[in-house]
Amino acid sequence: MRPLTPDPKQGRGRGQPPRFYARRDRAPSRLAFRLERLWLTPAVRAVTRIGAPIFVVTLGLGLWLGDSARRADLVERYDNLKISIENRPEFMVSRLEVTGASPAVEDAVRMMLPVGLPASRFAIDLNSYRDAIERLDAVRDVSLTVLSGGALEARVTEREPVILWRKPTGLDMLDADGHRVASLTRRDARPDLALIAGDGADKAVPEALDILAAAQPLLPKMRGLIRVGERRWDVDLVGGRRIELPAKDAVAAMKRVIEVDRSDDLLSRDFTRIDMRDTARPTVRLSANALEHYEELTGQKPRSASFSAQTVKPVAVSAPAASGSVASAAPVAAATPSSSVRSGSAQSSAAQTSAASSSAAPTAARPAARPSGSAQAAAAGPAAAAATPAAASPTRPQARPLSNPSKVAP
């Protein structure tokens, strides 16, 4: 017979009775039961686990901070700690390195530094410092960097003066954008810079620079540019003469003047104004002397000096005049001894031109053989004739027939 169960006496401690049942569960006392139920109430749990700690901490802090001396002490400690951290050698800036600045600007930059060096990096308000530097007229751009070695680097890009602006109050140097760079006390401190004048001239500096670039050949004769009415430029030449440029396409007008000057030596003539404001009707105002000469030569009686001095004759200055300019020039040309001749082909006109230039001697009144293969030349012909009465004196037979500048070059 095999026993189904192990001996109950085995497997348990000696002297212990065999135990078949787990012991009865111990009943909680009524108080324990109630407390446990209380503890399982969500509100009680929340109050005990969150509310009570918060209350205790708040109360403790409030009591402790209730004393003003403690509060002051705490604030002071905090400030000291902050200062001691800020003044650590890692954060100290001991020198200022300024690169890319002229000595005057560098001095100014150094002067502007709000604190004396060495100072903590936190004591320097880099943004306001940079704004202050950028407020200098001579500075176009600046970047501030705190380098690791305790250096504050200010990389300055200066404005480049390209032009002088004479104002009633003084003389300013402007950069290419028209921004003031510095003032000058004497014009000859910067003889290399061109001069502009007039109200609002600084706002049109780029255009002025373009005009100056176009007027390169005129520079020796030029005194400067004058802004008129804040809208257009006058070129002021030595001797009080002026070239009046239009508000639009001033550079093209300037080029036209240069071109005519190159071909017809326009600027060496005796005039007071060259008026290019109306591109369709360029006009030259002769001086009083020249007008008298002209009228003598053309056989006109001078009616009155003042009137003749104010006589303004239209001049077709340049080649690209439209055919309309022919019409406008025609009445004038009719008053001149010359008359336009339209002839032949471009080849024949070239031949005549060379012939004419070789026989340039006799008079300006000589009817010029016009290279009038194109309407432009035809238009230019009478104009040139009209513009040259001053040269009509026998002693200065300078008038040369107009031709393509390239052909006159030799």
């Binding site: 026993p3 189904l4 169960t5 111990r26």
Partner: protein, 444 residues
């Protein structure tokens, strides 16, 4: 009856409040163990509610979040015998389940097996007021049922309207909205001893808990152990508990009969202890490990060590064969089953269309019981285990937990009881005045 009516209605209101709070505790007060579950009710999904019944047969609405069981103390024959011990045992389980659920529970639904349940079939009939049957008509027909003489000191535990008949149509589960003239109802009334209920209420109140409902454990075991078609077609659930064996008969998803035998597994243990002269706990252990009801030739050779600490070597070294043990167990089990047979016969179980018998409860786990029961009760016998509900611990899925699981279903979906309907208006007439007079007489 009106007092009871009010009590039961108050408990329904408490149950509703508990559902709204979302947590309710269930207490199965048995003779051998007391079990407690904590249910958490989740909000009803409106989409699912529209379909009528939710997924998992509506069980997805609740979840078991705490479970605890302890050895019973002070309960005999399924009714409270020693209040202090029972109260302590209730405190143990409630505390354990609360701890597991990590929440506080205030409302308890309890069930117990004993207290002499007695079934009554009631019938009532009224003429319908108006064309359609309304809530008032149902209330009136329920009130028309004549309360039988349930005896002094008895209390109604369940009052289920089982069947409604309208004119010549019978078998209506819900007559509301039907058009008819004559409404009749069959009601099943279950009464128990009033003292048992009062003891239970007292114990639970001593634990600072509120009672949200009471149920008969045979009834709730049937809810958990019978599958739906068994409940529909007719079947009996036999809950073999420790101190009492509950019998409930279901038909058309309603309990139509319940009774209890005041015998159970504890009596088997008692017999073993007496027969073999061993302590109760040893007897219980031997019964659990080696028990059975059908002896075979092998059982003569299987010897069981009895043990003991009497100091008498001869006594302490006794061994019995398993056949002897079965010889002690079987007569008692047969006795229980004979009683059950008698109850079923008295209830007219043999006239049901389907005569399925489901054995459940802790004592149903004796090996060979289903064969014995089939011989004694009828051919359609099976062992039943409770329905699976969400979150139920594995340890609480055995046959012994049928009633507590059924109590969970009962808590979630209580069947209509008589007191779910308003008291009809004509019966209310004059009542407030009478109550006011009584109040005056008592207080002035």
């Amino acid at each position: 009856m009106t007092d009871l009516y009010q009590t039961q209605r108050a408990m329904r209101a408490i149950r509703k409040a508990a559902m709204q709070r979302g947590v309710v505790a269930l207490l199965d007060i048995g003779s051998s163990k007391i079990a407690c579950l904590v249910l958490r009710f989740e909000g009803v999904d409106p989409a699912r509610q529209a379909e009528g019944i939710g997924s998992l047969a509506g069980q997805s609405r609740f979840r078991v979040i705490g479970a605890s069981t302890t050895r019973s103390a002070g309960v005999r024959f399924g009714e409270i015998d020693t209040m202090a011990q029972t109260e302590r045992a209730i405190r143990i389980v409630v505390q354990g389940a609360q701890k597991m659920a990590n929440t506080r529970v205030d409302h308890v639904i309890a069930c117990f097996a004993g207290a002499g349940p007695r079934s009554y079939g009631l019938a009532g009939e009224v003429d319908v007021i108006g064309e359609q049957v309304g809530e008032q008509d149902v209330a009136r027909v329920l009130a028309d049922c004549d309360l039988p003489d349930i005896g002094a000191g008895r209390e109604v535990l369940h009052a289920h309207p089982v069947n409604f008949a309208l004119d010549n149509r019978s078998g209506l589960s819900d007559p509301r909205g039907h058009v008819g003239n004559h409404l009749a109802v069959d009601m099943h009334l279950l009464t128990v001893d009033e003292a048992a209920i009062q003891n239970l209420v007292y114990c639970i109140r001593r634990c600072d808990l509120e009672l949200a409902g009471i149920a008969n454990s045979a009834y709730v075991s049937g809810l958990a152990a019978l599958v739906e078609d068994e409940q529909e077609l007719g079947s009996a659930c036999i809950d073999l508990g420790g101190g009492a064996t509950g019998v409930s008969i279901f038909m058309k998803k309603h309990m139509i009969f319940a009774d209890a035998v005041r015998m159970g597994g504890d009596h088997v243990t008692h017999d073993i202890a007496a027969g073999l002269q061993i302590p109760m706990n040893v007897a219980e252990r031997i019964k659990t490990f080696h028990g059975g009801v059908v002896a075979t030739g092998m059982d003569d050779r299987e010897m069981i060590e009895l043990g003991g600490e009497s100091g008498d070597w001869e006594k302490d070294r006794r061994r019995v064969s398993r056949a002897e043990l079965i010889g002690i167990i079987r007569p008692r089990v047969e006795e229980i089953l004979e009683e059950v047979r008698a109850i079923l016969d008295a209830a007219g179980f043999d006239r049901l269309p389907s005569q399925q018998i489901v054995l459940t409860g802790g004592a149903s786990q004796i090996p060979g019981l289903d064969g014995l029961a089939a011989r004694m009760l009828g051919q359609n016998v099976r062992l039943g285990r409770p329905l699976r509900v969400q979150g139920l611990p594995q340890a609480a899925t055995g046959a012994g937990f049928s009633s507590i699981v059924g109590l969970a279903l009962f808590a979630a979906h209580p069947q209509d009881e008589c007191w779910d309907f308003e008291i009809p208006a004509e019966r209310m007439n004059g009542k407030p005045l009478r109550r006011a007079l009584r109040w005056f007489r008592e207080n002035w």
